[in-house]
């Protein structure tokens, strides 16, 4: 396989992963079998449900059934499956009511069980008996929305400042570059944490989301500004810009109609690179308890459960599943970037 086709495969794989993430974000409610705040206090820290292919009589059946977990040790919270009460697994089962995309009222979920008493937990339950898979799906939705809006805001601010810096006079340019350099040089996480203190530490979900987006915009614009400014400086010396200027086109119009479309591609690549950075920042803040707070799930505050070391020892995979999701998302964006850049370089050379 040549390097180029290899890069195409990588980019396609990344794109497929990213589409999956978008799908999960849009249909999180339909995919989640249970309400993410629904607690069953009798089943804390239950493991992944046992699925069998035998019916009540014990003979083979093609229809999978889920066995109810029975607590064997209340102190150590160990369970074993109870073979006396299997419940059928159903597709498009009826569950809690939700609104798809915020306005289509629905009650069907991708899967569920025939008996509402016996629940199917594909990732087990957390310390309050809430279904981890449902929480993970809702968390992905929250994280993706916040990091996408954050990336758009930061990119817009960065591009605007970069355009001004690249085209305006020397004093303004020096000031913008100076501040941008300082912002890039300082560690983003510490700056975000320091800025976070200026606001109340515990916030309702919507306010928290707005605040996180604000913080990301405030700290994430600088790289974009540097890139835009450099590209504008390079582009403004080209002949067609001089021609536009001679014809009396205004500065703003030159920037927006002539320069911006010509530098859009590298800017778009940079914008996608901001996405994983913001996803990580959101996860980190929520992990530290200053981002999105319980009972709302986020990738970060779900990971906080992993600091319970006895649980981590028992159920490492379940507890670290949000970390795997984060790694997959970052990998998807990296794959796309590697693919695009390898092919772009070939085109230039």
């Amino acid at each position: 396989m040549t390097r180029r086709s290899c890069a195409s495969v990588a980019a396609t794989a990344g794109l497929i992963l990213l589409v999956c993430f978008a799908f999960v974000a849009i249909f999180a409610d339909a995919l989640a079998p249970y309400d993410h705040t629904d607690q069953s206090r009798t089943l804390p820290n239950a493991p992944i449900s046992t699925i069998t292919f035998s019916d009540e009589a014990g003979s083979f059946s093609i229809r999978p059934r889920v066995l109810a977990p029975k607590m064997t040790d209340a102190l150590r919270q160990t369970y074993e499956p109870d073979p006396s009460r299997p419940a059928k697994i159903e597709l498009f089962a009826k569950g809690y009511a939700y609104r798809l995309l915020g306005f289509i009222p629905l009650e069907r979920h991708l899967f569920g069980t025939s008996d509402p008493e016996i629940r199917l937990h594909l990732l087990g339950t957390d310390v309050l008996g809430r279904d981890r898979l449902s929480r993970l799906l809702i968390a992905i939705r929250f994280s993706l929305i916040v990091c996408t809006i954050g990336a758009v805001c930061a990119s817009l601010l960065g591009i605007m400042l970069g355009l001004v810096g690249g085209y305006a006079g020397k004093v303004l340019d020096t000031a913008i570059v100076g501040v941008a350099d300082a912002v890039i040089a300082l560690p983003a996480m510490i700056v975000i944490l320091a800025a976070r203190v200026a606001f109340p530490l515990e916030l309702p979900p919507l306010t928290a989301a707005v605040l996180l987006i604000g913080l990301f915009t405030f700290t994430g614009w600088a790289e974009m500004t540097r890139l835009t400014r450099g590209l504008v400086k390079r582009t403004r010396t080209l002949d067609f810009i001089t021609a536009a200027r001679i014809s009396g086109v205004s500065g703003t119009r030159i920037l927006i109609r002539h320069i911006l479309p010509n530098i859009a591609r590298p800017l778009l690549t940079q914008a996608t690179l901001i996405l994983p950075a913001f996803l990580l920042a959101e996860a980190t803040l929520s992990f530290l308890g200053v981002g999105l707070q319980e009972p709302e799930p986020s990738l970060g505050n779900m990971l906080a459960a992993a600091s319970d070391l006895t649980q981590l020892r028992e159920h490492a995979f379940i507890l670290l599943s949000p970390a795997i999701v984060i790694a997959l998302f970052v990998l998807a964006v990296r794959l796309i970037n590697t693919g695009i850049n390898t092919n772009e370089d070939r085109e230039v050379i």
Partner: protein, 333 residues
Amino acid sequence: MPHYNRCFEKEASIVENIGVPSVFAAVRIFSPVLQFFVRKVIQGVLLLLITSAAAFFLLSSAGSDAFTSLRENPQVSAATIEKLRASYGLDRPVVERYGAWLRSAVRADLGESFYFQVPVTGLVLTRFWSTAVLAFAAIGIACLVAVGLSFANVRSRSRTLSAFTDAVILLFASTPRIVISLFALAILVYGAVTSVFWLSAVSLAVPLVAILLAQFNQSLNDAMHEDFVRTARAKGLNETTIILRHALRAAINPALTIFGLSLGALLGGSVIVETVIGRPGIGALTVTAVRNRDIPLLMGVMVVVSLAVWAGNTLAEVLQLLNDKRIRASEAE
């Protein structure tokens, strides 16, 4: 990995760009070395002033301080809180407070931490030292992997190894510190590895390995196509000597730029690694300061971090000057 390089070109110029050039016209009569140091010191002072002022005004203007949480306590009256605030000087205007903070900061006195009840300077420096040791271990690991793999790549010219290197870069670049440090914690719990220090260092190093390896592999490859390498080959030197004595030295400078910049990134990364693994350092200290709204401590952290970032950049530049005669020549002109 061309796109990494694009990022670095952009970052490389950070080192040159902080500061106002016209100020230095007066200094031009001095020697280039002195000029360099004067420029660096002005840059450092500017960076410190900007970050400390921004942090101070942001934190003060938000209207919440260490006593905000007391307001919800019904047993503490508003008058008591005002008295407490006055005793810490929190009732004075922001500009005056910043002036006072700056005056004592010049004497290396950063005030007293609300939470720990000890002087900030000593506390921050101790914790910073602990993180700095960790960061240097991480840089060491990253350098070892980057130089080793790049050398093997250039020496063997094997396609499989090159593909492997690309895979390592991709994998390491997409393993964030929050993920790797949680997995390190799991390893620690299972008892497979017991050294907290080295596990933290590896967690801190992972994303850096990708950046450094991508850059070093590329620049070593580029260096192998330079004229001086061809000359060395024509002289009949063996390939290992050519790489180690000639190409490596030319490839080191871009990597040094990354080293300077990575100190800041490592300090940022230490926030998550130290909190997850539970190692006291500047990152864990920042989290404690944030959770307890300890603003003097947070200011101290910001100052030390800015200083470290500045020192890292300066050190990288000095090393670059020592390594490459061409830069020295252009500075002298």
